[in-house]
Symmetry: C2
Subunit: 413 residues, 2 copies
Amino acid sequence: MNSFTREQCADFDRLDELAEYRQQFDLEEGLIYMNGNSLGVLPKAAKDRVQEVVHEEWGRGLIRSWNTADWINLPNRVGDKIAGLIGAGEGEVVVADSTSVNLFKLAAAAVRMRQGRSKILSEPGNFPTDLYILQGLEKFQQGQVRLNTVNRNDILDAIDEDTALVVLTHVHYKSGDMFDMAAITQRAHEKGALVLWDLSHSVGAVPVQLNEAGVDLAIGCGYKYLNGGPGAPGFLFVAKRHQEQLEQPLSGWFGHANSFAMRDDYEPAPGIKRTLCGTTPVIGASLLEVGVDIMLSASMSRIREKSLQMGDLFIKLVEQRLSGFGFEIASSKDASIRGSQVSLIHEQGFAIMQALIARNVIGDFRAPNILRFGFTPLYLRYVDLWDCVDALVEIMEQEEWNRPEFKKLTAVT
Amino acid sequence: MNSFTREQCADFDRLDELAEYRQQFDLEEGLIYMNGNSLGVLPKAAKDRVQEVVHEEWGRGLIRSWNTADWINLPNRVGDKIAGLIGAGEGEVVVADSTSVNLFKLAAAAVRMRQGRSKILSEPGNFPTDLYILQGLEKFQQGQVRLNTVNRNDILDAIDEDTALVVLTHVHYKSGDMFDMAAITQRAHEKGALVLWDLSHSVGAVPVQLNEAGVDLAIGCGYKYLNGGPGAPGFLFVAKRHQEQLEQPLSGWFGHANSFAMRDDYEPAPGIKRTLCGTTPVIGASLLEVGVDIMLSASMSRIREKSLQMGDLFIKLVEQRLSGFGFEIASSKDASIRGSQVSLIHEQGFAIMQALIARNVIGDFRAPNILRFGFTPLYLRYVDLWDCVDALVEIMEQEEWNRPEFKKLTAVT
């Protein structure tokens, strides 16, 4: 195997067609940020936009901005833009609430559409909030439906005639492994079940073709690869063919056929709007739009290509320079089933990540022993990968991770 | 009855102890804003704060800000501050989600705590999203519980041994009429029922003493009298005594006992934190804190006093100057049962409000015929009331409302 040098990595950057996107983001000099899969960075344009929304739309326009700044259509406008990133159509996506709340809405609606079937299928180790929300649904539907988790390799076989809904995260948050969306969706449909995909680690990171794969329902996160800001609203997708049958329990006024007629009886809006609940978080949704606009302006296939090159390079650098230090590569080496991250396993993972962060290289740690490195092709450089691994080498060689300050637990996200 | 003059109103302003608060808000010169009960105005301090949160906490701190900027405790920190405005204790209030979503969480939890009882009681004409959410719960719980609405004067008598939960809006959004919170709560408890108060038109507007009244549960809005910004997160209250029994269906990872341990099984956090669901909307919650801080720095009893004086003055001005133009006062003239607004009924209400807005006096219209004027003592002046009524006089005398441009319907909030 050839040994890579930093100079070679710099060459990759010089040839990179996406390199110019980096200047659209507000990145601190000297910081290497490999945590865009947890919280994406600040687009420079978001600084102007937040000022416009707060000073002008709120400050000057006040209540009139529901019309004059079109706040009323924000969920649909930004949703339609996200649709373009995930192979969905106009009127199939809205921005609203959190990813967790959106999952509850759609999972409850799906179970209702498949009444009589008793099983929701997922995998152990799925992103925890997804399992928690499904457990909440199970408890509150009192025995009508139960959550069944089976290992990811057994999912296809576990889908049966009693399955109401399959809920999976397309790209696994820890390992970065990716499911075959089309194959699982097809099997589910053969058995009469519905499928709901969590796209939190997919949208803006890997190509997704919801309609091509025949997907029924999906949810996703706004603050990771979409760079929507901390706690940005989530989004949800409902295929057109299901919309008129869809009844979701969080039937708030923004999902009403005529929100401002102030009638006593709920009547769901036609189409995707019925999935809305309360008042739109205007500032959060407006900033999310900035991140989505940047993502839409780039080529998703080029993003994917660079992401996979980065993953391959990172794995090679780890193998080349970190062998003998006890790291194990947790992600698939087969690029075709890998999302936009590579995870390493190390028994001192927590302390190593703390030491890395102290050196201004930010990845993240997931209990009990996973070091996670996300690749965000719009603002990450090949040399950043080299420098990250270089820092890891020094941390291991000098046993920097063994310092007491890196071993104390703090809240980590 | 004495006739008031504009000069007298200006005298009231000169004597007003709260007058200096107006300078803390970013109000456009010449604008009279009587819609703070729908969307509060921009605090000047929010401009600096949003820049700090976006540029520094997000842009520079990135993922580290969950610890370094204490994002992780935002829901509790701002919640504890709101507690101080509604007579609640530390650890009884959090900021999260929308008001509608919060209602769903607490109403579902309450029904579970009173399993076996089949009735949720509310009033027809309650704020629509409250009824819609309760209808969603009813449908979703399939016959276990049904929503029963009775007229507000019959509520006390309608609470019976089959009532699981009473859900009422403390100050009515249209009329501004206020329920006797303590009396209804007491009656509910005598019958073994729980009570949930919607404080959306109360918090920051009228004194509320949740614990003194023995209230079980409450929700409220962040973007009205609290001036938290468009679509600001809502808040919720659970009395300490209920917290350890409370199980709510939206059991997302932020309500978990150990959110970042990433375990597969949901375990509710101790205390109020179990009512959280998804990731905190950081920017929205941070701006809400600015509004809450201003409100906390003012005397609630002085706010109430000024609010009532404003209501009385407004009613007198309407009676004095608008008689013969077909207005009817929809709010109670008894100040003790009136919130911080006065509503007028007029068959041409929509067009009149449009004409008023065109004159830079902003109230709002609620179908079918209600003109609503909110009093926000921290930034509204007595002369504003005079000028508002003066504009109404001109609109009626000159039949300005009859112009075609004021008659076409647009989305109104």
